[in-house]
């Protein structure tokens, strides 16, 4: 139920409340974007037809490095 799928906003509808979101592999769907501040090119988490959050690209790219750093900090204690 709380499953949310990440996808990329490829266009915004004329009503400015919906956007087409590309989930990759040729799948795209119209999604309500009124819960977020999102623009074309943003990656959003989509749940039950609504974008619920914009994914932070920088944080996503840093995640593995952060994990490595945390683990090595423990090794050094």
């Amino acid at each position: 139920m709380c499953l949310a799928i990440p996808g990329k906003i490829i266009s915004i509808e004329a009503d400015e409340q919906h956007a087409m979101v590309d989930y990759g592999q040729g799948t795209s769907r119209k999604v309500n974007i009124t819960l977020v501040e999102a623009s074309i090119g943003d990656y959003v988490l989509v749940h039950a037809g609504f974008a619920i959050e914009v994914l932070d690209k920088e944080e996503a790219q840093k995640t593995l490095a952060i994990f490595q750093e945390m683990l090595s900090q423990e090794e050094n204690i």
Binding site: C2, Q17, A48, I52, L71
Partner: protein, 359 residues
Amino acid sequence: MFSLQDKNLANKIIKHLQPNKKPYHFMHVCGTHQDTLMKHGLDDLLESCNIHIGQGPGCPVCVTTPYEIEEMLLLAHKGITVASFGDMIQVPGSTMSLQQMKTEGGHVHTVYGIEDAVALATKQPNQDVVFMSVGFETTAPTTAATLLSEPPENFSVLCCHRQIPPALEALVNMGDMNIDGFIDPGHVSTIIGAQPYEALSEKYHVPQVIAGFEPLDILMATWMLVQQCEHQEAKVENEYHRAVRYEGNKKAQAIIKKVFTTSDVKWRGFPIIPRSGMLLHKKYSDYDARIKYEDLLQPLQDKTFNEPQGCRCGEVLRGLISPQDCALFSHQCTPEHPVGPCMVSTEGSCQIAYRYRSN
């Protein structure tokens, strides 16, 4: 870009956890976390490190009460068009599921989200449509946003939304089991942020980590919980930085506050959990199916509806037993012929166990 697959790093985390001799019992409250744990064999891997992670009441369809299902069945029986998520439609009620009512001619629709239910109402203006809105804080803002967009008059909502933090407190308070820490649900947390969990850590000294849904997210969150336990800390940490901000989604929170009020509500398997329910605010009573159809629903008042005979979903939802401890599991109760909701829902512990551990 969002793929988090690094076998070496996973092995490194496990290596850090392996010297652990003290047993830890952690709980998560999200079916998607359970899916990741079992799909990738992390449950067995962590058991080998003396760490048990169980699923609590983290499946909105599963915690919806038999009474709420009867409300929908009665509305459908009276000729009203009813709509909800696929899993919800299939949960057995006292005599039948909504799915069975559909095969008997009831106007029952499976929808992907609330906007599809509004589209149904728009398409057939002479027919009343009720959407059964189940879900935690992740789903509640989708209901709120839709009601704020002024859907047609023939549309209403049977509100069954519930909030996670009060349920975590209830689990700790009930004292049925020792919980050394919680893995908090990532997508609920995108909406509410980290702050609503903090009182629990402060009051009961329970460590918590908000986690994402990749195998590495779960392993890292587990390691972070063990770190807190070993250092006698109890705080809320966020492992899922790429999606969860400390303050959450303020826009979604604002509309939740506008549309809902908090209520005391029963969860399947639990007694009434104070302040865990979400009712529609008086201002939106025109869209509140319980008010709109008060007379139709009146025959249900004062009635109680029990769990199906032999079904132990209540104990599964409280984390007291594993699905395999239930005598019905994989015999009388299967995804094709479910007895209880935990076998119906793709987020339910029983269906997940059946999917990955049943021969």
